[in-house]
Amino acid sequence: MQREANVKLKEVISSLCKLLAGLGVEAVPSPETFRRGKFNRRDGTADLWKLLYSLLKPLHQDCPCASNKANLALQVDFVKSVLLHYGYGVRELYQLPADGSEGSRELLLALSWLFHRINLLEQLLNKTRLSLGDETTLCVGGTPLVEGSLGLSAVQGGGGGGARYLEWLQGQLRFHWRALHAAQEEKATLLYKIHTYTKGCHSNPSISHLSVAETSLIKSPRQQSRMLMLLECEITLLESYLEWKRLEPLYWHWMESVLDAKLADDSQEVLIANTIAMASGFKRKDKDSCQRNQSMKREMDRLGKELLELKWGLQGEASAKRTSWCKWVEYKEQDIPLDPQEFGAIALKLHDRVGQKLSALRCNNVKPATNTAYRLLLRETTKQKTLPVHAGETEASQMMLGVDNEEQLFHYQCVLHPLLLRSIPRLGAEQHALLK
């Protein structure tokens, strides 16, 4: 029974390792490392750290903590900050030493937590996905106005003519932006041309035109064989993913046993060390050096405050409206007929109308997801006003309305930051006065 269970386990872990290797992860440890990790052996720990690092790095490439060097201490730091970012609360992990010598069991638990919590494997699969359509995201951007004065340091550093140099740079930036804008418009024009010229060429009638990638494939046969190879690789990858999914329940059974092992150990030795380390653990979390985590904390605090203010504001508004509404209802009640049947009919009508209005509100506020990539399709507008929109589709005109609304909001934001905007030209005038 034990041997059977062991063999099954080996199969499960091997399929996981095969999937990870297929995803392009560099440092895939052997199934043996996983097994030994359950017993908190020291020897495989460094491998597990490296695995976590190479799994998390592609998802967080813009985080300043990620470094390209093979320094284990830096990798350990990176993994810890990313886990903190996702909200992994097991303190023992953060207390593990930076040389990567201990704690393989903790790492296994963290790994499984990531699989479940952020769909780690599915995210990595999405990244390596091949797509032949013309893609675009619906992300509208809109980073908030920067607080703090970045410009002042440049002014002070640039000597006497700092303000003029700043204006020069701002002008240059504006020209670069205009060129980018023109390039994007050109891209849209050419895309439209390709879509209209290849109408009716696609095998799928609901798509009906070719994308840029498909058109270039038609032009060069060498690319076609390359694309075929890539597609075959992807099929193999997906097959190994399906195999993993089939065996996944066994993996979670095994994880339970790992967790049991940990709890059994914990109750005996680690408790004492924990109480001493708890204080330093607190400090360590606060000293988390990742800039992104700290800025996120600041944002969250600000958001919390704003939500609270919003809540008080709405409560005030609601109570005021409620009192005036009650008065109005009292006034109107005089008109209501006392006959129960008529009253019932009126009440039902009112109920329906209110229900319709609420459902209309709900429909209008459903926004399409902005993180996923969408394929661009050119559709003819037929005589009917509204095209049937299938699930998972959005119309570009709707998105444009949404963007217009966001622009309005942004204008209001600009009005709310008058100090920031007014201070820059004033500074320029002062510098001019100094120079003359």
Binding site: Y165, G171, A182
Partner: protein, 451 residues
């Protein structure tokens, strides 16, 4: 990546036609020493930039505007005679009567009245482009249509296409010009253009006249000769070239020009120097080297010389180590021309070997812009317009300080006695508008003086 040219007034239309001639000849000429792929890439880029392909051959991406029909019909027929290119059938706009050299008439009356028709023509040209690279407006400053209506049209272009690049080419009138109110017209044009245009490229009639007389040895100088020289200079700026570190012909020439030269909103005046410039007969006997050409060009920049002959070699850049405040007076004493930014465009054989280090000298530039940012170079191995090697310098410097000062001074003297002002007020330009324009130009002069 296409540029739409708007030819305004008599001057603009005539120069525009010469410009398209030069460009068309240049992109079709055979060059023995360059590989065929290079040549083809050059001419495809140039054709796309300036001409649109129709059923009847290449038609220029241009809109012709004038109040009188005579000049436009002459321009169109001359173009068609060349056989290689022509103007589009529907791209010209003209009326029966001119503006009488009255800026206010052009700006306040003709402009708004014909705005819709003209912008319609422009829109049609823009729609033919896959990507709009910007507008190139050509006009003179002294007349009524070119300057007044041209300024109004530039404003309309800016309002309709807020994200486009607008380059205005302006012809400075002769100092002893025929039009009495040319100084008023100039002042009003420049002050208004500064608001809507991105850069103003200036050609002085006096300078070009001297070039024709002394360098090209033309005895009877007609407007056609002057226009040919201006067209040659403009063509050497607008034809394709490689910006630094890029391996394809630049697809955003106006944008790149603006990025390197006119990023600061107070400094928009650009001057142009091009060498060598000589008659065809002398050309056959001359040999040029890049070091020689660049040395001359550099001294022309420093000493504020308008052409190759008569350069003052005594003027030297100041030695380093002077604080900026003293530098101003020091430079004034030496008649040294401080630059804000320079763009070198080199065309011809062995262009990669040309050393432009002389232009990176920080002493040439103002203190607050590092020379790495202020100086840029474009190159192409294709020779231009029969010159085996040619070098052009587009410069944002104190070149135009003295002429500008002169014009403003003369205009102010006239304005002080309110001479001819009633001609303007009757069409809608009030005395306040004049004062605003004077103030704006004084501000520009002050900025350039303290460079």
């Amino acid at each position: 990546m296409s540029i739409v040219t708007v030819q305004l007034g008599q001057c603009g239309n005539q120069i525009g036609q010469e410009l398209f001639n030069v460009i068309s000849n240049d992109s079709h000429s055979l060059r023995g020493q360059c590989p065929k792929t290079e040549s083809e890439a050059y001419s495809i880029c140039s054709q796309e930039r300036f001409f649109s392909e129709g059923q009847n051959g290449a038609s220029a991406r241009a809109v012709l505007v004038d109040m009188e029909p005579k000049v436009i019909s002459h321009t169109i027929s001359t173009a068609a005679k060349s056989g290689r290119w022509k103007y589009g059938d529907q791209s010209s706009f003209c009326q029966k009567q001119g503006s009488g050299n009255n800026w206010a008439n052009g700006f306040c009356v003709h402009g708004p009245r014909h705005e819709e028709d003209i912008m319609d023509l422009v829109r049609r040209e823009v729609e033919k482009c896959d990507r709009l690279g910007g507008f190139f407006n050509m006009m003179s400053m002294a007349g009524g249509t070119g300057s007044g209506m041209g300024t109004y049209i530039t404003q309309c272009l800016r309002d309709t296409y807020p994200h486009s690049f607008i380059l205005n080419q302006v012809t400075w009138p002769y100092g002893t010009g025929e039009v009495i109110v040319q100084n008023y017209n100039s002042v009003l044009t420049l002050s208004h253009l500064y608001q809507s245009s991105d850069a103003i490229l200036v050609h002085e009639n006096d300078t070009v006249h001297k070039i024709c007389a002394q360098l090209m040895n033309i005895k009877q100088i007609s407007f056609k000769d002057v226009n040919k020289v201006i067209a040659h200079q403009l063509g050497s700026v607008l034809q394709p070239a490689y910006t630094e570190g890029v391996s394809e012909y630049n697809r955003n020439p106006l944008g790149d020009l603006m990025k390197s030269m006119v990023c600061h909103p107070e400094y928009k005046l650009l001057g142009l120097r091009n060498i060598p410039q000589m008659s065809e007969t002398s050309l056959a006997y001359s040999v040029f080297t890049w070091p020689g050409l660049l040395k001359h060009l550099r001294q022309m920049l420093i000493a504020n010389a308008k052409m190759e002959e008569g350069i003052d070699w005594q003027v030297r850049p100041p030695a380093g180590g002077l604080p900026p405040a003293e530098k101003g007076t020091h430079n004034k004493q030496l008649r040294f021309n401080t630059s804000l930014a320079n763009l070198l465009i080199l065309r011809g054989k062995d262009v990669q070997s040309a050393d432009t280090g002389g232009f990176m000298d920080p002493a040439l530039y103002t203190s607050w812009l590092p020379p790495g940012v202020a100086s840029s170079t474009w190159r192409t191995p294709m020779s231009f317009n029969r010159y085996e090697k040619s070098a052009t310098l587009v410069s944002n410097s104190q070149f135009l300080l003295k002429p500008l000062d002169g014009i403003v001074g003369k205009a102010w003297n006239m304005f002080a006695s309110r001479a001819y002002v009633h001609q303007y007020t009757q069409f809608g330009i009030s005395e306040e508008d004049f004062l605003d324009s004077f103030t704006a130009l004084e501000q520009i002069i002050a900025s350039y003086t303290h460079l």
